[in-house]
Amino acid sequence: MNTLHTLAIGTAVVLLAACGGGGSDSGGSETVDNSGARGSLIYNPPLRVTALTAQQFTDRLNGSTSGAQLLQLAGTPKCGVNFHYIQYGTVGGVNEATKASGALMVPTGTDPACSGARPIVLYAHGTTTDKAYNIADIVNTSNSGASEGSLIAALYAAQGFIVVAPNYAGYDISPLPYHPYLNGDQQSKDMIDSLTAARKALPVLAGVSDSGKLLVTGYSQGGYVALATQRALQAAGQTVTAAAPLSAPSAISLLLDYTTLGAPALGGTVFVPLLSTSWQKQFGNVYSSTSDLYEAQYATGIDTLLPSTTPIATLFSTGKLPQTALFPANAVPGPASPAFAAFYGPNNLLRQSFLTASATDVVTNVCPGNAFPSTAASLSSTTPLACTPSTGFRKAAVANDLRNFVPNKPVFFCGGAQDPTVNFTSTQATAGYFKARGLPAAALTVLDLEAAVSGASDPFAAAKVGFAQSKAATLAAGGATAVVTAYHGTLVPPFCNAAARGFFQQVLAAGG
């Protein structure tokens, strides 16, 4: 047996030696950058999630009712789209190194509009509680990022725009244990880092190149982030061709003062925990204990609750968060009108003591741009944030409010005047401030989807009419409650996004 053993080993060794090298051949070259530096592209070329020709994309959209509606709005794809998944180095809320992921959508095809030097759309997504949100994962329709990814792919990539869309630090593969929600400094850095990383991939991916035109847009939270990014790029002396903040909480201190004074936002029980966690990280003085803000039943763990891998409906149904009750039933101040009654009730999230402190501060340390209700003067103040709040939460809100710069490139605001989630006054106040500070009318467009078509030459007539039809259909099917529920997340986004594309195309055509 000993001899056989020797023989066996001999055989194995000789046969192995005869066969040449083993190992893995990946069939291509890939650069891995684990430096963690801001804007580093970790895998280059980045993963291509899927590749659709223009026809395949059209067929795919036609395969669902919502897709067919989107197709009508966005137009038939001219270009195929390669969907790439990027991972990049960025920073957290206090400049701690981290990484994040996102999408890079590259137009393909033979149409002249789909190759060569193309403009880049840098897109910022809206609020999500889903930690697994991945806007690049359009093959998995159960991913919460898939529909937003399809929307911007159809609107932009399929029409010849390169699209860069980060998932943000704190989401998907990002190891950051929180999300720097509405931290204007961090969120703009995250956007710029995703753009820097994506630009590193473009020379490696054949077909298109960066034309140098940069269009920054986003919806809801993303509208805020888009405007913050325009501010940061402008401050750094980098090119921004135009920006389109949509349904943006850009006047965030105004929105929080309104919440305090009796007009909370639909979704407030989600927004406030995201904000308190983010701003506590950013400044450290929002609370000394979460129970300064939150009722005992929520205080423990609220600072790590969101974003979550648990669906938001489950967080509501299991009592981790109340669905609407932000303040107690007998809160002082109470609801500004019966329309806001739903935000006051049992099992409320925030303590009366926090509300009292906030309300006292709002009326004591008045921010000139935050008058409730708004006035012509408050909406045209050149110093909307000339106030010195005393509470940590209000200080953070004022510090992250975007009414503190003036764009030097065209800005397009869009929203709906009845928005129950992001009060349209935020848009009016931000645009009003820009105008008051001298942004020329030619560079400032505000579209209220609720406004009547102004005439035959109204460039946004189609968006207004389409929105009105969509809203009427929702009302007919589900009543007024359905309209309120669908307003911010479903009814407005397609029309504002489509209008933003029209605005961008106009700016580009004018040589912007």
Binding site: N2, T3, L4, L15, C19, S24, G28, R48, T50, N134
Partner: protein, 248 residues
Amino acid sequence: MKITTSLAAAGLLLASGGAALAQSSSPSFLSSLSSPTPSTPYTVRLGISHIAPNSHATDAVGPLLPGPPSGVSLKVEDKTTLFFSVARAINDNLEVELAMGYPPTHDVKAQLSPSLPANVQGFNGQTIAKVRQLAPTLFLNYSFGQPESRLRPFVGLGINYTNFDKRTSTATGNALNGGPTDIRLSDSWGLAAQVGLDYKIDARWSVHASLATARVKTHLVATTAGAAREIDIRFRPAVFTLSAGYRF
């Protein structure tokens, strides 16, 4: 070129194996070769194997896939290769056999669910990877009949070790996976069995036919730009071998 190398290797093996034997056995290996009847209980077999892996793979799981289930799976294709084994008789009916072969490189083809979109369907049935395996198997064979019988059926039970030592992602595989892809497969240990017939030509030469199988399981990880997709593969291979045996 590779087969030539392998044959040379087999020759080298005979020499080195012989040298090892020469030390422990008497009379010497060389003198045994010139003897009309075998003086040692060793048989070497050289032949051809046809390997039908009969792979059953799970749907891929991992980031940025449809589903679950993803509908993305694979199939390992058949391959014919050079067979080589060394056996040592224990008594008139039992032998221990170490079976191996020139490591075959199998094509791996994409197996995609019809529910996947058209742009992915195009990859169905295409070769996405090539995988080389080393699968030495140690059998204990029992031969029926007498040593003098011309035709002896046999059965064998043994242990198989499979190592996938060389993996290559094809351009098609990279297009499906979304970029250059590193493929790794875990080693497998499992039971093996064979049945066959041995036809004795003379005291030294015989013709040997066998049908062998083994339990082979492996875990495949395909990593593309940091995204690791995983598939479990179970093989129930049917390996048909025809070889010439030489006893010395």
